[in-house]
């Protein structure tokens, strides 16, 4: 294709990518390098239904002037990335020097909000992703072996967990595991302990969130694998059967190799999806026990004190995190691709 034609060919998608991907990312980067302009504080007497009190207030006129001079706020370099709420370089350094052993260091590290969130985010990603892939393949193989009339309804029912909005799905589960809910009350009855609760300890909360994640994402991998199974050539399977392969061997040596590109695809999607887990944390009210990077962003943007620079910095760190996670998978795919191309 001549360069000129190629150029005109891609310009619409290029324009869309610049407008909808590149510019927003640049804007977030810019935001992450700034903090708000200085607030000029003055003393004032505030009165209300409960009497008067001398308090500090923001001098609105002076602050408005500062804001007009610096609409972006104050440039702060990488402060938003290195402060205690993010990578916390100073605190990590102090913790390293002040800890006798690695256990104490890790405890101190996990006391910092970013690392606490990162620990759960990574655990969630690396536990949920393999489970979703294996479980999805198992369900797909099972459904594929069903008689024809049962397939449609089974597929529909299997997809339901994915159809339920994560926020709602996790809220329903949250109520079910409540001491008054069906699961929570049953567990308390079984173990005869009214204080037993899945919401109470960090370990149980982590487990519950991970189980929810698997329940929610398995249908996605199931439907992709199920579609893939329809393309496995019947001849090869038949030949394997004639050669004496049993069902397990047919799956292991014929079906799974055929599914390999799909495994890579699902792994990519799941790594990205699970790394930005948010809704179950909100619905399960699990802030005390488990947080995630996306949840930190959400909190910065919705609390009384909105921190845009902080949210932008966490967003950039999330993008970098996703890139690091996907790199090995992408590299492998690229290597396989160039090997077959030559």
């Amino acid at each position: 294709m001549p360069h000129r034609t190629f150029f005109w060919f891609i310009i619409p998608s290029l324009a869309a990518m610049i407008l909808f991907i590149a510019l927003p990312v640049i804007s977030v980067i810019t935001q992450s390098l700034h903090v708000e302009h200085e607030k000029v504080l003055i003393s004032s007497e505030n009165c209300g239904p409960f009497g008067c009190k001398q308090v500090t207030i923001v001098d609105v006129a002076a602050t408005t002037q500062l804001r007009a001079d610096q609409p972006l706020g104050q440039f702060s370099g990488f402060d938003n990335y290195t402060n205690r709420n993010h990578l916390a370089f100073d605190e990590v350094g102090l913790a390293w020097e002040g800890s006798e052993n690695i256990g104490i260091f890790i405890k101190k590290l996990l006391n910092l909000p970013f690392y606490k969130a990162l620990a759960f985010t990574l655990t969630y990603t690396f536990v949920v992703t393999p489970f979703v892939i294996v479980l999805g393949l198992a369900i797909a193989l099972g459904v594929n072996a069903l008689p024809k009339f049962a397939k449609g309804p089974t597929i529909f029912v299997s997809l339901l967990p994915m159809i339920v909005t994560p926020l709602i799905g996790s809220l329903i589960l949250f109520w079910m595991i409540d001491g008054e809910g069906i699961i929570g009350a049953s567990i308390q009855y079984l173990f005869n302990d009214p204080g037993l609760s899945l919401k109470a300890s960090p370990a149980l909360t982590w487990m519950m969130l991970i189980v929810y994640g698997i329940w929610h994402s398995a249908p996605f991998s199931f439907i992709v694998f199920y579609a893939g199974l329809q393309t496995v050539p019947a001849d090869t399977l038949e030949a394997a059967t004639i050669d004496g392969a049993n069902r397990w061997q047919r799956i292991r040596y014929v079906v799974v190799p055929y599914m390999k590109p799909l495994v890579v695809f699902i792994m990519l999607m799941q790594l990205m999806d699970n790394f930005r887990v948010l809704e179950p944390i909100v619905s399960f009210a699990s802030e005390a026990s488990a947080t995630s990077l996306s949840w930190i962003i959400y909190k910065d943007l919705t609390s009384d004190t909105q921190l845009f620079g902080s949210a932008a910095a966490t967003s950039m760190l999330t993008i970098i995190g996703v890139a690091i996670l996907l790199l090995p998978v992408l590299f492998r795919t690229w290597r396989d691709f160039s090997r077959t191309a030559h």
């Binding site: 903090v35 708000e36 302009h37 200085e38 607030k39 504080l41 003393s43 004032s44 007497e45 505030n46 009165c47 209300g48 239904p49 409960f50 009497g51 009190k53 308090v55 500090t56 207030i57 923001v58 609105v60 602050t63 408005t64 706020g73 104050q74 938003n80 402060n83 205690r84 709420n85 605190e91 006391n111 909000p113 409540d178 001491g179 008054e180 009214p194 204080g195 609760s197 919401k199 109470a200 300890s201 960090p202 399960f284 009210a285 699990s286 802030e287 005390a288 026990s289 909190k299 919705t302 609390s303 009384d304 004190t305 909105q306 921190l307 620079g309 902080s310």
Partner: protein, 415 residues
């Protein structure tokens, strides 16, 4: 009970209809747009509906109740003209709006149309009226008189949180309830509020006066944290997920005997829905207890009031003020007497309001209106749970809170 409710509803409807006939258009001159936004609870529904009666004759009134109004209000009022002409706020949210200069001073409108207001309803900052308060709220003690009686205690013995702990221990030891106590301790805003309330009970300042420098890592802070930890040791292990809805459900479900909850929940607890006769009959309210040898109730007083947006035309601002004045009229209060602890002329305090009133009478402090208060509140909400769960010391938790506050305050330009 059902019939009584129907009658009450009919009476309310009749009252609103009559007032609408009497106050049609409310004397708003010319064409104007009034749009009101605020939180979503029954007392505000009554206020907004009464304000809506001013529609007609070229005046339009629209209303929006939204639980997430705090997240929407700044962008909505920053627009010029503002998306909403009037907003109902509390002492916590007014500061956020004032920090961004989004509130119109009301002195002229109060002089012109505010003759019916009590002076105490006017919220003034630096001498200028910025908001008109119409109801009060505070967290205070809810107790079950029947259960207290069974352990041989009376309401007079619940003046301090130390006494509450004694009562809780007796209830547990008597085998009546394993987890008799609850506070709204959901990690985040709710837990932050419990910290602020308890700390105010010490009477100490949270900031170095005149600056945004936080000073909570001291003996008062440690006492505050220890009391919170003692109280949650009598709460169900789920306590870090308890918000107002959860604690109200536990109360109505006969699972609690002593709880610190919002005054705005009393009407819901006392009504016939969602609970048993036994619970409703024996539910009583008292002032928030004090602690640590102090006399100040460990709670904060909140008011709800309305403001007028800065970025609206004078005509719309005046119309909005008149409409809101109609919303908080004596007629509205008479029709909705028990929906809130009203600050409005004509209100007859009932049992539902007794806890808030007692808390105010005992000298509780208002929720602090510092511009940087939100940053400390947020830091408390997220850094306290490790201490309550026993995985770090009080000193470490307070140091974490200060560190988290410093980062947020620095980013907001306060430090």
């Amino acid at each position: 009970m059902g019939t009584i409710k129907t009658i009450a509803l009919t009476a309310t409807a009749a009252a609103i209809l009559t007032s609408s006939a009497a106050f049609a258009a409310c004397g708003i001159a010319g064409n104007a747009n009034v749009s009101i936004m605020g939180n979503d609870f029954p007392a505000l529904h009554a206020v907004f509906s009464a304000a809506e009666q001013c529609a007609g004759d070229g005046v339009t009134v629209t209303k929006n109740h939204n639980k997430d109004y705090k997240d929407l209000m700044v962008p909505a009022l920053t627009a010029n003209p503002a998306e909403y002409t009037a907003l109902t706020v509390s002492n916590g949210t007014l500061v956020t709006l004032m920090n961004d200069d989004l509130v119109r001073p009301l002195d002229d409108l109060v002089a012109k149309h505010g003759s019916g207001l009590n002076k105490s309803q006017l919220v003034t900052v630096n001498g200028k009226v910025m908001a008109v308060a119409f109801m009060a709220n505070a967290q205070h003690l809810f107790y079950r008189s029947d259960i207290l009686e069974q352990v041989g205690m009376s309401a007079d013995e619940l003046q301090t949180y130390e006494q509450v702990l004694t009562a809780a221990k007796r209830i547990r030891d008597a085998g009546l309830m394993e987890y008799p106590v609850a506070l709204n301790t959901k990690a985040g805003w709710n837990l932050g509020e419990e910290f602020v309330n308890m700390y105010l009970g010490t009477g100490a300042d949270m900031f170095v006066p005149g600056t945004a420098k936080v000073s909570i890592n001291n003996a008062h802070g440690v006492a505050t944290l220890n009391m919170l930890k003692s109280l949650v040791s009598y709460s169900h292990p789920d306590y870090l997920t308890f918000d107002s809805n959860a604690t109200q459900a536990l109360w109505e479900g006969d699972k609690l005997a002593l709880a610190t909850m919002w005054g705005s929940r009393t009407a819901g607890v006392l009504d016939a829905e969602g609970s048993t006769e036994q619970v409703v009959m024996n539910t009583d309210f008292a002032a928030a207890p004090s602690f640590n040898g102090g006399t100040i109730p460990a709670s904060s007083l909140w008011w709800d009031g309305f403001i007028i947006s800065k970025n609206v035309s004078d005509a719309d601002a005046e119309a909005s003020f008149i409409a809101m004045m109609n919303g908080i009229s004596t007629e509205m209060v008479q029709a909705n007497n028990d929906a809130a602890t009203w600050l409005i002329e004509g209100y007859k305090p009932s049992k539902a309001a007794s806890g808030v009133t007692a808390t105010a009478m005992n000298g509780a402090a208002p929720y602090p209106m510092y511009p940087f208060m939100g940053a400390l509140h947020g830091a408390a909400g997220s850094e306290l749970s490790d201490f309550l769960q026993g995985s770090e010391s009080a000193g470490q938790a307070l140091a974490d809170m200060e560190a988290a506050y410093n980062v947020a305050a620095k980013e907001k330009g306060f430090l």
